[in-house]
């Protein structure tokens, strides 16, 4: 399309008027994302359809690999070589790191026209801004502290879905006796870390979490509460199966879907897998806040960072993309598929399932009570180097039988000093 545009703007203009009707200038928008599994792939397709409806060419740049590590690697090489995509899935403090490198575009005009300041909670819009300017568009809000359970398995084992960590271990014991794997877990370091985060929040509470994992307060990281968090966390491992190392999160979710396992601690992207398997929330599967965290909310907000582009048509397409991402229609369509909730406030949640409705209600309530917390395991709380260093220790502690809780505590405290 672009080549044609350069050759004969008139011809293309005429063609665009006839064929595309809605836009005079059609650009190409290349989007880097890692939504490749079941429910996520459907969500990405929704964004593609929205952009194509506006007459732009969508160039898919999907890099598989949960958590996006591989995608980031590809992105870096593209940016270093001066060939950045229009938008890339970047989130949390990483947005600031990228903006500091001076490669992100200013989206203030789109934000102003679309009134982002008033439709986004302040906690969210702050993350999307660098030095007061919008550099990214938020897509959705994931709640990380969820417990997914298969009610049939729980019924067979004669126990109920736990709401505290004490109940959790009682339930896990009952499930074990009934001959199922109590906790479906994938032994990858970010999954170990996700479980750790849920335990830390459930055992320590919101204040502890904020001090320890957002502010990286040393006395809190070496407190008795931290020791209790670590011993509880390690106890969870006794209820996972020994084939867990290396397993992908969606395979662990599949174990719960099939009834091979009782429950899984995972963010609400897991819901997409349940829905894609044709399961009904509340009936075939239960979504509950992770034990002891009913009044807290760890969020993981996906966003698209917008890169500086040189081609005018592509810049136009990029702005349309930003507008599209924040439009109520897209927010609804996308989040219905992704299993998350719209980041835009005041949306009609009628079409959403019970899990999402609960998530949305809690999102608003927790924002007011100050228990809306960034997820450390999903790159929302601290810079990637610090997060990685802490993740290493947590994962090593989970896997090693030789490391004591005291050792782990010391190492986490020293990892937290990584800058």
């Amino acid at each position: 399309m672009n080549k044609t545009l350069k050759l004969s703007p008139l011809a293309l203009g005429a063609m665009a008027c006839i064929a595309l009707a809605s836009t005079a200038q059609a650009g190409e928008v290349e989007v880097l994302h890692w939504w490749t599994s079941g429910g996520e792939a459907k969500a990405a397709a929704a964004l593609k359809a929205t952009m194509q409806a506006k007459g732009h060419t969508w160039k898919d740049f999907a890099v598989a690999g949960g958590g996006g590590d591989s995608a980031m690697t590809v992105l870096k090489s593209r940016v270093v070589s001066g060939n950045a995509p229009a938008a890339a899935q970047i989130k949390g403090p990483s947005l600031q790191e990228w903006a500091k490198e001076g490669v992100l575009a200013n989206m203030d005009d789109v934000a102003k026209a679309e009134k982002w300041d008033s439709v986004l909670p302040k906690a969210v819009s702050d993350i999307m801004k660098y030095q007061g300017h919008y550099i990214a568009a938020p897509v959705n809000v994931h709640r990380v502290n969820w417990l997914w359970a298969n009610p049939e398995v729980f019924k067979k084992a004669g126990t109920k879905v736990p709401t505290t960590w004490d109940e959790f271990f009682v339930a896990a014991e009952a499930l074990k006796k009934a001959g199922v794997i109590p906790v479906a877990h994938g032994g990858q370091n970010w999954q170990d870390f996700t479980t750790f985060e849920a335990v830390a929040l459930g055992v320590g509470g919101a204040d502890f979490y904020k001090k320890a994992f957002v502010q990286l307060d040393q006395p809190t990281l070496t407190s008795p509460t931290m020791a209790k968090v670590l011993t509880t966390f390690k106890k969870v491992k006794d209820y996972t199966d020994k084939n867990a190392p290396g397993r992908d999160w969606n395979l662990a979710t599949a174990m719960v879907i099939k009834g091979e396992a009782g429950m899984q601690i995972m963010g609400d992207w897991a819901k997409g897998e349940f829905l894609a398997a044709g399961k009904v929330p509340g009936k075939d599967f239960v979504c509950a806040a992770a034990p002891g965290t009913a009044k807290d909310y760890t969020f993981n907000i996906d966003s698209f960072a917008m890169f500086k582009l040189s081609n005018a048509a592509n810049t136009k397409a990029q702005k349309d993309l930003a507008t599209a991402i924040m439009s109520p229609d897209f927010q609804e369509l996308f989040n219905l598929n992704k299993g998350s909730i719209p980041v835009r406030l005041g949306m009609d949640m009628a079409k959403f399932d019970d899990c999402a409705k609960q998530s949305a209600a809690d999102f608003v309530a927790d924002a007011k009570s100050g228990t809306l917390l960034p997820s450390i395991a999903h790159g929302m709380a601290v810079p990637s180097a610090t997060e990685g260093a802490i993740k290493d220790v947590v994962s090593q502690y989970w896997n090693s039988d030789k490391m004591s809780a005291q050792d782990a505590m010391k190492q986490i405290a020293s990892a937290a000093k990584t800058r």
């Binding site: 199966d241 084939n243 190392p245 290493d392 090593q396 896997n399 190492q411």
Partner: protein, 292 residues
Amino acid sequence: MSAQDPARSPWLPKLVVAPSFLLSFLFIYGLMAWNGYLSVSASRLLPNYDFIGLEPYRDLFASERWGVALTNLGIFGGLFIGGAMVVGLLLAILLDQKVRAEGVLRTIYLYPMALSFIVTGTAWKWMLNPGLGLEHLMHEWGFPNFEFGWLVDPDKAIYCVAIAGVWQSAGFVMALFLAGLRGIDDSIIKAAQVDGASLPRIYWRILIPTLRPVFFSTLMVVSHLAIKSFDLVMALTAGGPGYATDLPATFMYTMAFSRGQINLGAASATIMLATVAAIVVPYLYSELRTKK
């Protein structure tokens, strides 16, 4: 070319090799130097050219994970190089006994080399996974007490990587040794046999010592495979459980590309380069000296 007198155009050979020399100079040594500079720079997410001194190296050697990676390189390197050499030599000697269907056997042993390490890693991951592979199979066959969970045990997982590595490379080592053995003059063996030497003795005292140059070149190939080993670990364990099977190459990748600590990654790459150089330089030196 034959018509032209090489003495009249001494610049021609130089001109012909110049592009490849220039390219390799730029893209090998130039990039090495760039990496070296990055390792003492303030680079984090993207390259940055502010000099900060040896800080990244201090961080590197203070890092527990780097310690694990180096230890693993020692264990993996030793077992992989030693294992591949011993198994390869043994296979070569056995194949050298004029066995029937030698061609078929040779192909079978050499075949793993045709696979990429990713395929090897994935296949061994399935075989060694307690829930899918060997242990599961033995349980199905009626040995419920059989246990083989090395792959999921942080202390033993690195041995699984070595096993898969040896399986992959032993055939290649065998081919090199077999070629070496076939290159030895038959009359030496016949003379030894006339003198009444037994077959093991002939191998131990005559054939294997004559294979010395083959030994060295094989060692070179296999040891650099060990040091740069990355794909095998990624496919087999992805560095897990935890970071129990991290190697310097996977460490470098994680730090430089997914953690936004390019200077730390570059520092580890420099240490890897130094390790390779420590092996290659003395070897090249001795080789070049004997040729003179």
